[in-house]
């Protein structure tokens, strides 16, 4: 019996908003696909491009970065820096031939459990036809 491809998503979630939002989804028993590996970071602004490349190298099929809405960052400005920096990461990944759907960013507040759920559902749907990410996967 052929196994259905299940994309593996690494989600880098900021502690104060997005991670709390994902917790709210859990507490409210909202169902979303179990394909996500959540990693809590203090702020989306603390995310270095190294983390994203490392996620792809270790076999992630998709990477999601989620932070507080602009203006609501717990550290005031972190998400603004993230917005700039990760825009460059996204363009660079597309430039070298990684499917643009594999790296996504979102603003999810602590109250947006439903939005988080929908983002994950949509992400999994978009990754399924793309198949396994073997381009940047480690071949050590």
């Amino acid at each position: 019996m052929e196994e259905k491809f299940e994309p593996k998503i690494v989600a880098l979630l900021c502690k104060w908003c997005s991670s709390a939002g994902s917790d709210l989804a859990g507490v409210s028993r909202m169902k979303y696909p179990p394909n996500v590996v959540p990693i809590t970071v203090m702020c989306s602004g603390s995310i270095s491009p190294d983390y994203i490349f490392s996620a792809f190298k270790n076999g992630a099929d998709g990477v999601l970065v989620s932070g507080c809405h602009p203006g609501d960052c717990h550290y005031i400005k972190g998400n603004y820096y993230a917005r700039r920096r990760l825009a460059l990461v996204k363009k660079l990944l597309e430039f070298i031939g990684i499917e643009p759907q594999r790296f996504q960013m979102s603003w999810v507040s602590a109250a947006e459990g439903a939005k988080f759920t929908q983002i994950i559902k949509d992400f999994v749907k978009e990754l399924e036809p793309l198949g396994s990410q073997n381009k940047l996967r480690s071949n050590l």
């Binding site: 491009p49 190294d50 490392s54 602009p70 990461v89 070298i96 031939g97 643009p100 940047l136």
Partner: protein, 343 residues
Amino acid sequence: MVSLDDIKKECKSILEKGKVKYIIGYKKKNNFYLSVPAFIEKVNEIDQLIWDPTCVYNLVRYLRDEKLRKERQKNPDTRPVGVIVKGCDSRSINVLLQEKFIKREDVFIIGVTCEKSGVIDEKKLNKKFEGNCIKKIEFNEDNNYVITLETGTTTVPYKEFLADRCVDCSHNTPLVYDVLMGKKVERSVSEPFKSLGRFESISTEEKWIFWKKELDKCIRCYACRSVCPMCYCDECVVDSINLAVNPDTTAEEKAQKIRWVEKSPVRSENFNYHLIRALHLAGRCTDCGECERVCPVDIPLRYLNKKMEKEANEQFGYIAGIDPEKPALVSCFKDDDPQDFIR
């Protein structure tokens, strides 16, 4: 035409007066037509200086060595270092000033304009004159190249052998200098990112095939990193060497030590290295073209950095190395930065 005599006169003057410790310039390599970097300490060495189309090196790279040297000395000589810069090199100095890596008083800048043309691409030259020995290349009054071969002298229009980075350049006059040699000639490039056009119309898969083929050649010699004036980190992301190992360190602890890029020159590590480097240079690279020139296996590295330059310009209105007082690309933001890629 830039007068070499004027350059020599200025260098002689500042060296004689003790204004600078030494001057970093260009001199001719023995028995070869290419120039090499020169470090002039004594006045009687000034005659070694040259200025010709083979002066491709970005000498700002050596300001890093000078800084390291000063840090190691107990009572360092605090006089500035003289350095001969072209337009592209002067932007590198601006980036170093912007990042407070060096102070303005640490460097005495002898700016030289490229006037109409620029420097040569050695590879294009070798292709055309394969087998024929080149003895010398000089600028003439119209900024074209006068090439002296074993078989005779020929003048060629500069466009034929101009380095690619000069084709895209609109900063042919140094932006920061203490003295300026040569005429200021306005140059504007209508399509500064034309070279990226070949990637615009191809599919994701075709882009991957292109980069796979190019980066599989990489032997991780790190010439690109070493020649770049902006890659000045004491410990680079690929070096990860800070690991205190004692007899109690367990295998698990050693295994879990973070190493972003392994030393093996396999595809995933090569991509990792080049992608991280392109991002670390976003908003800092001034397209001096040295990384591509020094690569022993001919990887077209300028495309990666040019792409970041294009995004910085089009999305954030930022050009590297123009104003050292402004904040760097990734250490500032605007309220209306584009965010249509964010859900």
